[in-house]
């Protein structure tokens, strides 16, 4: 399997080089572009799996480029912006971007987002249809791209980053047991030093935050093995 190919579109030359190097060192094929025309050249030359797009670009903005990109391909897009505002994030995601990374970011954060988006994107490319990244169970709605969880009452339920990641993994493997070791490994990229205990803490927090009016959240413990989300999950 060939390494995923990423196009980095960033007008700041030094940051562009640093970002590209960080990705290359982690096994990605990286091409760079400083603005719209260079991005189109790069994409015409070779297809890419992911475009890392700065919002504030000279000429057509990242938002505009995102819209144009979406018209012609399903390539995965991650926005990078100096504005941390919710409005920008939502605007980007609404135009079809897959994730949003605020500046300044660390290599760890960058890689986590890239991996997550490519994992989702890989399936999408194979099936040919883009899915919205919406998951539903028991009246709960989880938007993976917006990282937003809504309760059956429609209220936004705020989770920590690690809790959301854990929930995303459980949703991806619904009605299947996930080994604790696998969960610990996944959560390590989020939590600085995740111990065995921290997974249990995360699970108990999730159960509490996802508890319904009468019942408890359908996350069950499989003794000696791991955890399981014990309900069917609807994808959209």
């Amino acid at each position: 399997m060939t390494a995923p190919s990423i196009v980095v579109v960033e007008d700041d030359a030094a940051l562009r080089t640093l970002t590209a190097r960080a990705l290359q060192e982690n096994g990605y094929l990286v091409r760079t572009a400083s603005a719209a025309d260079e991005m189109w050249e790069a994409l015409d030359a070779l297809p890419a799996d992911l475009v890392l797009l700065d919002i504030m670009l000279p000429g057509p903005s990242g938002i505009e480029l995102c819209r144009q990109l979406r018209e012609r391909s399903n390539v995965a897009i991650i926005f990078i912006s100096a504005k941390g505002s919710e409005a920008d994030r939502v605007a980007g995601l609404e135009l079809g971007a897959d994730d949003y990374l605020p500046k300044p970011f660390s290599t760890r954060e960058l890689l986590a987002r890239v991996r997550a988006v490519l994992r989702r994107g890989g399936r999408e490319v194979s099936t040919g249809t883009r899915e919205e990244g919406i998951r539903r169970f028991d009246g709960w709605t989880i938007d993976l791209r917006r990282r937003e969880t809504r309760s059956p009452s429609g209220a936004v339920v705020d989770l920590t980053g690690a809790e959301f990641d854990l929930l995303a993994v459980l949703l991806d493997h619904s009605q299947r047991v996930i080994a604790r070791e696998r969960l610990i490994e996944l959560s390590r990229t989020r939590l600085g030093d995740s111990s065995d205990r921290s997974i249990d803490v995360l699970v108990s927090r999730l159960r509490r935050k996802l508890s319904g009016a009468g019942g408890t959240a359908p996350i069950i413990t499989v003794r000696g093995v791991g955890y399981m989300l014990n309900v069917p999950v609807e994808r959209a």
Binding site: D12, T19, A82, S85, P104, S106, S151, A155, V157, K209
Partner: protein, 447 residues
């Protein structure tokens, strides 16, 4: 300039208006008094009163007229009874100042004694003191005058109170009308005062609203000057805010470079200190931008689970190794601005973990409010400094130690976020030691 060439509706000055008001009230007063005097002239006494007066006058006239001139004065005095006082004089004394003519009563008298018609009889109502008396005079055949007045106030001429009231009614009416007119004239000033009170307020109510230029010329000029001043101030604030926000945003690109470069530092200790320096700079920029509201559009309220949001703030802090716990219900749905409220809670928790070891966040749902409190076991804040710390850019530990992250905007941001929800924020020292920061949001929270 457009402003100068614009057509301005001519308008009386304040002085002109007040003069006009005075004129109007005076005219009204005049009209009402005339009406009052007119009514008095229609006034009539009982027939027997008129007859008695008529008879007395006829007799007195004859007796005085028949007396020689040097005896006339004495004769008039002799004719004075305890009812009527009579005096003779070569000329008619001037009538007392406030003395309406009594035409109705005169007709009664003349009807009874038609011989008096030739005597140029005149009757007036005068009221020295509180009792009304009738006074008047009649001309003797030789041209001298017999002057008379009733000593007892005539029973039916019980006008005193009525007249006082009648005189008061227009006065009161005039005061009210005058007051209303002056109030109307000064109405634009009140609009202006209200607008001036709004200038510089945070939130949507601080947006400049031009006051309509109405009212007297002086007021119009003040309103116009105020409007342009308000616009200038608003532009100034906006420019500064935008400039600061732009600096904040632009700093994030070099910070991103610095962060990626710092990761390549092989010296672990150096890399860690660089990381924490960078984290501090990021936190400062984030708090500055939050304070300026420079992160884009104002946030809209949405339905959120406030209990989970609060628990998540506690969980985030405890994931960073702090002893922060949440106490309260598992779920509480509420409509508010989630980012603002979360930032407020995070700021309170960050303050608390900075000064204390153990932090407890409580959520209590009361009948009319939901109360979020962040309690710590730290040293608290000296009572006299409590109001001070809510001001922007105030840091109590400036002199002692400078290890707080940020600009001292944390609590100002909390105050704003809570105000945006129509709530109250209060800081107090706990009786058992430590600080208690309390956010009280009114219920139902539909802000």
């Amino acid at each position: 300039m457009k402003r100068l060439t614009r057509f301005v509706r001519p308008s009386f000055g304040l002085l002109g208006r007040i003069v006009a008001i005075l004129l109007l009230t005076t005219a009204l007063e005049f009209g009402v008094s005339t009406l009052l005097y007119e009514r008095a002239s229609q006034f009539s006494v009982r027939d027997d009163e008129a007859r008695r007066l008529a008879e007395h006058l006829v007799i007195a006239r004859r007796l005085v007229a028949e007396s020689p001139p040097d005896r006339r004065e004495a004769m008039a005095e002799e004719l004075t009874t305890d009812r009527y006082e009579l005096r003779w004089s070569p000329e008619l004394p001037p009538p007392p100042p406030i003395s309406p003519l009594l035409d109705g009563m005169l007709q009664q008298v003349l009807e009874w004694e038609p011989t008096l018609r030739t005597s140029d009889l005149r009757l007036r109502l005068s009221s020295p003191g509180r009792s009304s008396v009738v006074s008047g005079g009649l001309r003797l055949p030789d041209g001298s005058w017999l002057y008379f007045r009733t000593l007892e106030s005539l029973r039916t001429i019980n006008l005193a109170w009525e007249r006082v009231l009648l005189a008061l009614i227009p006065a009161i009416g005039l005061i009210v009308i005058g007051g209303l007119l002056v109030r109307q004239t000064l109405l634009p000033m009140r609009h202006l005062a209200r607008a001036a009170d709004r200038v510089g307020r945070s939130g949507p109510e601080g947006a400049p609203i031009a006051v309509s230029e109405a009212g007297p010329g002086e007021v119009r000029r003040v309103v116009a000057a105020f409007n342009s001043m308000q616009a200038r101030i608003h532009r100034l604030i906006e420019d500064r805010t935008r400039a600061l926000a732009a600096v904040g945003h632009d700093l994030r690109t070099p910070l991103a470079r610095l962060r990626l470069r710092a990761e390549r530092v092989s010296d672990d200790e150096l890399r860690e200190t660089l990381d924490s320096d960078l984290a501090e700079m990021e936190a400062m920029i984030a708090s500055l931008l939050a304070f300026l509201g420079g992160e884009g559009e104002p946030e809209q309220p949405v339905l959120i689970d406030l209990a989970v949001l609060t628990a998540t703030v506690a969980d985030d802090a405890s994931d960073l190794g702090h002893d922060v716990t949440y106490e309260g219900p598992d779920h509480f749905d509420c409509r508010l601005r989630p980012s603002g409220m979360k930032r407020a809670l995070v700021n309170l928790v960050e303050n608390a973990v900075h000064h204390a070891d153990t932090v407890r966040i409580r959520l209590k749902v009361l009948d009319d409010a939901v109360v979020l409190s962040v309690e710590d076991d730290g040293p608290g804040i000296p009572e006299e400094d409590l109001p001070l710390v809510l001001e922007p850019f105030v840091r109590l530990d400036t002199a002692r130690k400078r290890d707080t992250i940020g600009f001292g905007l944390g609590l100002s941001i909390v105050v704003r976020a809570v105000e945006a929800e129509g709530g109250e924020f209060r800081l107090s020292n706990r009786p058992t030691g430590g600080l208690c920061a309390e956010i009280r949001l009114p219920l139902p929270c539909t802000a």
